[in-house]
């Protein structure tokens, strides 16, 4: 494994600021630059470059789903045969109700290897969506893991 990508001290100070919440001012990148001891141009180039290279997956507003009207979600873990994995992954990924879809390793204690996060406006709509996904995919072995309580939800601080 190649290991974590390295940055200069100035870059780390910039990234430490933009991994949090942008200053609430008309020129937020100028303010980030001022706080990091860099020029605005350096800030814009670094952020744009990392976004282009996919190191920044998304730059923008993160919403609270409940307050945005998407109040119900479930993690569904499916068992998929290896030879069907690519097709099932593509099928799930194409569904607008699914925000995250991963193929993960499974083990003796846990047979499921495809994971989907399903979002809906109500629990009923969420259950309907899961039933529809099962019917359309033909997948029969799955478990719906509804969240009962949130213990932690943060954005990773890499810098």
């Amino acid at each position: 494994m190649s290991g974590a990508k390295q940055f200069t001290e100035t870059q780390r100070r910039i990234l430490a600021l933009v991994q949090g919440d942008l200053p609430d001012v008309p020129e937020p990148f100028a303010e980030v630059a001022r706080q990091a001891g860099a020029s605005q141009e350096e800030v814009l180039e670094l952020v744009r470059g990392m976004k282009q290279r996919g190191e920044i997956r998304r730059f923008g507003a993160t919403l609270r789903h409940q307050k945005a009207g998407y109040g119900s979600n479930a993690m569904v873990a499916w068992y998929v045969d290896d030879e069907d994995m690519a097709r099932m992954g593509a099928f799930m990924a194409a569904r607008p109700e699914i925000s995250h879809c991963y193929h993960r390793v499974n083990c003796m204690d846990w047979p499921y290897n495809l994971y989907t996060m399903v979002h809906a406006k109500t629990p009923e709509e969420c259950a309907q969506t899961v039933a529809e996904l099962a019917r359309l995919s033909g997948l029969e072995e799955y478990d719906v893991l509804k969240s009962r309580k949130e213990f932690k939800k943060t954005s990773m601080r890499y810098f």
Binding site: A61, M92, D143, S147, K149, S155, M156
Partner: protein, 150 residues
């Protein structure tokens, strides 16, 4: 939330302008002034609709390792187990779920050795073993939600 708020949210979730005056750029797309856009964004923050505005990094592209973990935790030990798990900086999400595997959390670390060391420490301190389910392949990650028509 009115139609302009929804349009603003649709733009700034994925396409927040990385420019000197981002709110002016959003305003240009919508026919609003910079100060109108900024005032609406401030109101959406104050109402708690917007949690934060900033960069979301791709752990994989940065060379970090992420994983999903699950544990079967007896009711009486949940509080202590969660406190131990959440004390680790790389744990970003942690939920109680309706299942015999009832505690599910995600962890990000510079490499898999660091992930394993942290899980071993959690098990040593709590006596509870943890499933480590790293991703083999990412099919989708999309966390913006269409507001127009919502």
């Amino acid at each position: 939330m009115d139609a302009y708020d929804r349009k603003i949210l649709d733009i700034i979730q994925s396409g927040f302008p990385i420019e000197e005056r981002p709110y002016a750029a959003v305003g240009e797309q919508l026919g609003l002034t910079e100060s109108e856009v900024l005032a609406r964004v401030r109101a959406l923050r104050a109402k708690g609709v917007i949690r934060r505005i900033g960069a979301n990094f791709s752990s994989g592209s940065l060379g970090w390792q992420s994983t999903l973990c699950a544990a079967r935790v007896p009711e009486a030990q949940i509080e202590a187990f969660v406190a131990e798990v959440n004390s680790h900086h790389g744990v970003t999400h942690n939920y109680l779920r309706d299942h015999s595997f009832n505690v599910w959390f995600t962890m990000i670390a510079p490499d898999m050795a660091a992930v394993r060391a942290t899980l071993a420490e959690i098990t040593r301190k709590t006596g509870i073993s943890v499933l480590n389910l790293p991703a083999e392949e990412l099919f989708k990650i999309k966390v913006d939600f269409a507001m127009e028509g919502a």
